[in-house]
């Protein structure tokens, strides 16, 4: 699909085959209140909430605007169309693998193919330096975030357990938990044998009907896009809400530069769409391209006044890139597991996020049950296990008896892990991102702890032929961190640039630390908070 759909006063209706919904459009020359670049967990959520607060909003996404019911096939190979697969160059001691597991290119961003795991931060992580002795403090208070988590959990009708075993009290999840599949029951067995808590994973896919969303049918292709609309992605939640509230979304629109004037303020964004160059005037610009495209765009938007890129007086744009370690222990079971059924991570434990006893490292990790489909599984058996030839074919034949436990592990922020611009250019003529990443000793100690623990858990659950994955990461955060001090952060607690007061950043880039849970719920909670703060600032005349 190479033709923009959000045009001529209408937008695709993701709930109807061939359907359309009316969409307001804004002229390019008339400044809108907010031009937002990116429509994923950060930008999509913010576009919705700002439009609902009465602001005029145009949001841009480099990717297409899909209708899942007619365009999402049950096929791994085909659904790679959801990923950001443009060239990026990776180096460092642990060069990252990008694309399928962490980068989306579609209206709705990576939430179109995320695994839907919707977890809150441990409260202490917002003050990890003061309370836990590592990383850096967030400028946000966990109690305020607790309310925004609740708002997002309600907006997405998260399906989760009645009682969540870890952390302070939280409201009931809006929808009942999903049935745990055999792969999840392996995690449960292991946890119970080791005497730690486990829970059905809170997931952003509905366990009962919701509007036009049917309950999840457990087809298992969640990370390839949900073809039934059970998954509560930004594509089917925040985006239609944003359009109904008067926002315009421009799909297949790649923003390559933010324009600034002599006063050092943003005036709008340059973009390419359908082979033509455009410029949208705006009173405020929000960058929400996730932790690689966000710093890339800021670094591309140089001017005489900002020779090192926008919002970069601290020199921190692109720095402190954080992934999460994604190591796993795999094994074989006597029983048939058939892990391709259901969402991939139906059970989890956050034990090592909340219990710090005996740790020889800072930070925490959750681990979850797994359900890789054949292409993903063979990539693990080859890249991480080193198999090929007959041994590979024999191992793959045991697919239906496999189970595994995989962490979402915290890494520490390091300035040397960063996004810069390479000499090569992409199809838009823009320099591509160079992504430099190395694990530090603390990160490696965390992984060793996790592999040891999960090996015990798998063995206790009855697993045989255990082996562990040595190189994998997920998620991208931290390249434009928020803070209280302009010298050591890129944006303030409201996600507003210290340097350019009408420039904002709203995605995982603003995370000062990552914690040991998937970031999407926190990104959305921050976006909801940012929208509310912007409304307050407007009322005070401080916008």
């Amino acid at each position: 699909m190479h033709t923009p759909r959000g045009t001529n006063g209408r937008a695709p209706d993701p709930f109807r085959i061939g359907g359309w919904m009316p969409m307001r459009e804004y002229p390019e020359t008339e400044p809108v209140d907010f031009a937002i670049i990116g429509t994923g967990a950060g930008g999509g959520t913010l576009a919705c909430r700002l439009a609902e607060h009465g602001f005029s909003v145009v949001a841009f996404d480099a990717g297409p605007w899909w209708r899942p019911l007619e365009e999402f096939a049950s096929d791994e190979e085909h659904q790679a169309k959801l990923y950001w697969t443009d060239e990026r160059i990776c180096d460092g001691d642990n060069p990252l693998q990008l694309g399928s597991n962490n980068s989306g290119k579609a209206v709705g961003g990576s939430t179109v193919h995320f695994a839907m795991v919707s977890l809150r931060f441990r409260p202490e992580w917002f003050k990890s330096r003061s309370k836990l002795g590592y990383g850096v403090d967030w400028p946000l208070d966990w109690r305020e975030m607790w309310d925004y988590y609740t708002e997002v959990e309600q907006a997405l009708k998260i399906s989760g357990p009645v009682n969540y075993p870890w952390g302070p009290k939280r409201p009931r999840y809006p929808y009942r938990p999903h049935e745990v599949n055999a792969a999840g029951l392996v995690l449960a067995r292991g946890a119970e044998a080791l005497g730690i808590n486990w829970a059905p994973t809170p997931l952003a896919t509905v366990s009962a009907p919701r509007g036009h969303s049917p309950p999840c049918v457990y087809r298992g292709f969640c990370t390839l896009g949900c073809s039934t609309n059970a998954k509560q992605s930004a594509l089917i939640t925040w985006i239609p809400r944003a359009v109904r509230a008067g926002a315009e979304i421009r799909d297949l629109a790649m923003v390559g530069r933010i324009e600034t004037n002599n006063a050092g303020l943003c005036t709008g964004v340059h973009y390419q769409r359908d082979g033509t160059a455009g410029f949208q005037a705006a009173r405020n610009v929000v960058v929400a391209g996730y932790a690689i495209e966000t710093p890339r765009l800021l670094l591309l938007s140089t001017s005489n006044r900002f020779p090192d890129g926008l919002a970069n007086s601290s020199g921190l744009v692109g720095r402190n890139l954080m992934v999460q370690t994604n190591h796993a222990v795999w094994g074989e079971f006597e029983e048939e597991i058939r892990w391709y059924k259901g969402p991939p991570s139906l059970a989890l434990t956050e034990h090592w996020n909340y219990d710090d006893s005996g740790k020889d490292f800072f930070g925490g990790y959750a681990y979850m049950s797994q359900g890789p489909l054949p292409q993903q599984w063979v990539a693990t058996q080859t890249g991480n296990h080193g198999l090929w030839g007959e041994p590979l074919m024999r191992a793959m034949e045991r697919y239906n008896h496999q189970a595994g436990l995989k962490i979402v592990g915290e890494v520490l922020p390091q300035e040397s892990n960063r996004v810069t611009l390479a000499d090569e250019t992409d199809q838009y003529g823009l320099p591509v991102a160079r992504v430099t990443f190395s694990l530090c000793d603390n990160d490696k100690r965390l992984v060793r702890h996790a592999v040891r623990h999960m090996t015990d858990a798998m063995r206790a659950a009855g697993g045989r032929e255990l082996w562990h994955e040595t190189d994998n990461t997920a998620h991208l955060n931290g390249t434009a961190r928020m803070g209280d001090d302009p010298r050591s952060s890129v944006v303030n607690p409201d996600c507003r640039s210290w340097d350019v007061r009408n420039l904002w950043i709203c995605d995982g880039s603003v995370f000062p630390t990552v914690g040991g849970v998937n970031p999407s719920l926190t990104i959305q909670a921050i976006a909801c908070r940012t929208a509310d703060r912007i409304r307050v600032l407007r009322a005070r005349g401080e916008l």
Partner: protein, 212 residues
């Protein structure tokens, strides 16, 4: 090697509620794919096919998955993965350089191109490659173990497991929309899932095999 899921064929679900229209289109296109190379030269094609036979050896009793053609299609369309190790050239260049280096290594050791040496010699060469121990000038600075992991094995195995025949072999349910699945627990199987030959009576599902 006996089949693990005898008689199982995901294509028999094509007209059941496990397949929707867009999935039928996508799979039909894949099955109708041209078997002739468009990206690779005749010489490269011969080397690639020999490599595919070693990386994903296929049984003789069924029509082979056209792995090499699937790799060729990826390169013809230049479908990239979204990341490139800084030590590696671009995907298309990496493939040409790697195949050339494989033949150069075989010629140096055995005086023959890769496809003409014996299977055991081929495997020896691949093991050295995986361990990063090949250094013929034809690699031109590209680390052979990176090419092995990130191009050769990565692209060939991804192609193979995108084919319904490979899904049959491992008992994967295949396409599953809109019907999805119902039975989720240990040793539970929906009637439209593969039956495993070696299942002991204790693990035999309650339902009888049928695809529909």
């Amino acid at each position: 090697m006996p089949e693990r899921f005898p008689g199982y064929n995901v294509l028999q679900k094509r007209h059941t509620p496990s397949w929707d229209e867009q999935t039928r289109r996508v799979i039909d296109r894949r099955l109708a794919m041209s078997r002739e190379p468009r990206f690779f030269t005749a010489g490269e094609w011969q080397t690639l096919n020999a490599l595919c036979d070693r990386i994903v050896p296929q049984p003789k009793h069924r029509p082979p998955v056209p792995v090499a053609a699937m790799v060729d299609q990826k390169l013809t369309k230049n479908l990239t993965d979204g990341y490139r190790d800084a030590r590696m050239p671009k995907q298309q260049d990496a493939w040409r350089r790697g195949l050339n280096a494989v033949d150069a290594e075989a010629a140096t050791r055995h005086g023959l191109p890769f496809h003409a040496i014996g299977a055991a010699e081929q495997d020896d060469l691949l093991r050295l490659m995986q361990q990063g121990e090949l250094d013929h000038p034809a690699w031109a600075g590209m680390p052979c173990e990176l090419w092995f992991n990130q191009r050769l094995v990565h692209d060939i195995t991804a192609a193979y497991y995108a084919h319904p025949t490979a899904w049959n072999e491992i008992g994967f349910g295949g396409p599953a929309s809109p019907r999805g699945y119902v039975r989720m627990g240990f040793d539970r199987r929906d009637p439209w899932e593969a039956v495993e030959a070696e299942a002991t009576p204790a693990h035999t599902p309650r339902t009888t095999p049928r695809h529909g």
